[in-house]
């Protein structure tokens, strides 16, 4: 069961100077979680073009002229979409790494070094994201 905690107003922007690693981890985990669930709904909506596409003729499907293939191909041809995908990867990787950190803490591992594991999550997220950029934007130009 979830509980309410009084953390004061995080909307009070000047408070960010008081935050420690754990508070940033909490804020980033929450932010990336909101982005991911928002994306899941969008993702299924876009993929749903597969439903009308299934009714297309075999010739149209073979030629890639069905509505699903056309929708994805036109979205993927936009550089903005490719950049947003890189952003999505960064958000997902951070949520996964920080989530692993939270699972381990719940299992009794690494509470004393929770600030270090947060910094490690950030650095690894950055490294994985940068290394993935060439693959993610390939063919966009």
């Amino acid at each position: 069961m979830s509980q309410s905690y009084n953390r004061g107003l995080i909307e009070d922007f000047s408070r960010w100077r008081e935050f420690e690693a754990g508070m940033w981890a909490w804020i980033f985990h929450k932010f990336t979680g909101w982005v991911l669930i928002g994306y899941l709904f969008t993702h299924i909506a876009v993929l749903s073009t597969g439903i009308p596409a299934a009714g297309a003729s075999e010739a149209a499907i073979m030629a890639g002229e069905d509505v699903y293939t056309q929708t994805i191909v036109s979205l993927e041809s936009l550089l903005l979409v490719r950049l947003l995908e890189v952003g999505l990867l960064a958000v997902a990787v951070f949520h996964m790494l920080n989530g692993t950190r939270l699972l381990l803490v719940d299992l009794g591992v690494g509470l004393e070094s929770q600030n270090k594991s947060f910094y490690a999550s950030l650095i690894l997220t950055g490294a994985i994201t940068v290394a993935s950029v060439p693959t993610f934007i390939a063919g966009a130009f």
Binding site: M1, L40, A54, E76, M96, A140
Partner: protein, 123 residues
């Protein structure tokens, strides 16, 4: 045990589900990204290729389980975040059931899409 920190509270089934789905999603989301961005590439997507994958029962079942666990983990996470911010009373009940309805729509739409690719008549 008293000195060990954990966010566990006894009787919290949703707490446990959130963590079990997290562990599952860690593996499957990594697989999903790897398969669809590194093995195959985003600009090579086609109905034909998506169909070929979804026609395999192992891939189809994994994706359905992925959809259900991701929906639960995400929507339960949103609910927890709102309760954590102080959501109570009637508002809490209304939001809870709105989220349940949104989840149902998402899962139904996802299954319909998977069925359309897999060539299962029910879509």
């Amino acid at each position: 045990m008293a000195e060990r920190y954990s966010s566990f509270e006894s009787g919290g089934r949703m707490w446990l589900f959130q963590r079990v789905t997290a562990a599952f999603l860690l593996v499957v989301l990594a697989f999903h990204f790897f398969l669809l961005h590194f093995v195959h590439h985003a600009d090579e997507v086609s109905f034909l290729a998506s169909s070929a994958r979804m026609e395999q029962i192992s891939y189809y079942s994994l994706m359905i389980l992925f959809l259900v666990t991701a929906t639960f983990h995400g929507v339960n996470g949103v609910y927890n975040a709102l309760v954590n911010q102080g959501l109570t009373g009637t508002k809490r009940t209304v939001i809870k059931w709105t989220l349940v309805a949104a989840s149902a729509v998402l899962v139904v739409q996802g299954v319909r899409t998977a069925n359309a690719w897999a060539g299962i008549g029910l879509y």
